[in-house]
Symmetry: C3
Subunit: 273 residues, 3 copies
Amino acid sequence: MLGQQLENVRKKEPLIHNITNYVTVNDCANILLACGGSPIMADYVGEVEEITAICAGLNINMGTLNPDTISAMVAAGKKSNQLGHPVVLDPVGVGASALRVKAANILTNEVRFTTIRGNSSEIKTLAYGQGTTRGVDADLVDVVTEETIEDTIVFAKSLSERMGSIIAISGAIDIVADTKKAYVIRNGHAMMSRVTGTGCMLSALTSAYLAANPLTPLEATAAAVCAMGLCGEQAFRRLDQLDGNSSYRNYLIDAMYHLDGETLETGARYEEC
Amino acid sequence: MLGQQLENVRKKEPLIHNITNYVTVNDCANILLACGGSPIMADYVGEVEEITAICAGLNINMGTLNPDTISAMVAAGKKSNQLGHPVVLDPVGVGASALRVKAANILTNEVRFTTIRGNSSEIKTLAYGQGTTRGVDADLVDVVTEETIEDTIVFAKSLSERMGSIIAISGAIDIVADTKKAYVIRNGHAMMSRVTGTGCMLSALTSAYLAANPLTPLEATAAAVCAMGLCGEQAFRRLDQLDGNSSYRNYLIDAMYHLDGETLETGARYEEC
Amino acid sequence: MLGQQLENVRKKEPLIHNITNYVTVNDCANILLACGGSPIMADYVGEVEEITAICAGLNINMGTLNPDTISAMVAAGKKSNQLGHPVVLDPVGVGASALRVKAANILTNEVRFTTIRGNSSEIKTLAYGQGTTRGVDADLVDVVTEETIEDTIVFAKSLSERMGSIIAISGAIDIVADTKKAYVIRNGHAMMSRVTGTGCMLSALTSAYLAANPLTPLEATAAAVCAMGLCGEQAFRRLDQLDGNSSYRNYLIDAMYHLDGETLETGARYEEC
């Protein structure tokens, strides 16, 4: 089932509009090309509605935002909603500043997101209006563990209900949930946190999976999360003695370039709850 | 002949001012260093004239533009014209929005470009004022094929006349033309389209080749196009089983780092028409 | 002694706020992760004080600045000063434009920098108010040689006195000095100048070393300079025949990922003067 989500991306080659940060934008573009999609970046409010209109999906990432880009995000998000395109929100570092909390509030009020993807601290901040965000990484107290899985699923389903969005919580254990069903995903590797932008890349990837699978957004999101994690595992196995986080980034994108539906089907480690 | 164009870049080490997008800017900087040039990026209107004045060439790329950067592009372009520096225009995604069409009009009216380089859709949009741009990639109906080469050469020479610029149309077959002469170039590899920024990198490279070869701008542009394509071929041959588009990007820049005039002379595949 | 500076970064995992250019920002993020730190980038004036407050250090890089980011740099710098956080200034290309000279003046007047790091032309421009900056690279007449080491040390100590900052001058020979003591460092490799951002990465790295070693800022700066140079040497030894500047960049960050205190202690080549 998840393998088919991937194959649809390769078949449909969705063009994805990204309004994203300038730190990891190149990696987001290359992961979209790796998975079979195509990227376009544009963040000026005066053109984002037109850009979104020629695309199949929209990826909004709050990594390095300012009032101008927030306006562009809202305009593009509303247009995508009108056109029925999937929209992903990556609330990077929400909770790290009042501006980010406010931006997240504006965005979630004005735009309907198909999927909201972040680490546990970011998602909790979205849910409770404040959090313990330590920069762009999850705070230790928020991390999903075997002991907190059940509670996190309840939390994610409830937040999904409130937001009208699929909720994807990234970490060593990933949770992807809509109001009724959750995927608990155990793909991935700890080294992914030693490369900048693995979360941003996953959000871009999720946009492509959603765009190519409009009828199965939950499965598409789960497939993207499994695919990213599986590539993280493959990239780790490829490391030689001298390779570090920079080579790891290349191997991760390389792995996505080669990933096919069958390998994803075989390698995905998840339970449905 | 083309080999000499390359050697002149290594000898003169031209400093190139880039006003470019934030997606592929790092790759543009590294390809300039790889070819023997040196990059500087600056896009604030209040300093671009001074920056351009200390450079040997200017590369204007419309990838992620806004009104502020358009003003900077015009100011830097005019200053470069005054100083007799070569100026390249890469009209990324023109046709994808009214802003981009307008920006391209302003730029081509206010600035004289030595070379305008884009894919076939972008160049057609420049010529006809509207197009079928699918984001940043060429639309299938616009792609240059064996059947349309002759027509494209006529089109390119005519556009060169109208614009007062060398026209470089990138694709599986590349056309580089001034008013009288055209190069049909068959270097390159399809995998170049699976990496973000190969077009942007070529535009940056072209700026360096023009700056180092002021008396032979057509040959310099053709040499840059052949060099980029040849590096794309070499990078492809270097791929191992696990390598994907991220390693390919690295190999492409690596190949440019090692390319010398003799190898370019031998590997360039082109006809003059 | 220098090895301990490195180990403290791995132990304390300092979060570093970067207000930096969009050219090399991804490499800065990855080198911070490689050394054991953690990066956050934010440059909107309305949030930088909050962002800096949750960090352990601040890295200000003038690479692609404009009036908005200058305001953000000043606000973040003052806040960091209040909080007693270390602040690094990388005056990229100062002297290339009036804006950059003015920005450097504003910054050095309004913010107390723990360390100011640049190439010899940039540091001389800071000292004398004007210079011979050739873009972002040092002018040949400014380069530190065996013959000019003594004079450069006197200059650096005197500038340190005037600025209240540690002065780090990068080049084939590096000088790191406070008012009383200087390190002359001979690590590094010429190929580092063929990759964009090695200077920017060093400034980011220095911020992490300073944040993890608050009581020994001179040693921390010297350790960062040695570490970067040593990684440049290791990366060079790793190059195979086809590798160029793009692979070199990856190997450099990879080397930082693996560098430990003992290796730094053994590999650092410096004299104290």
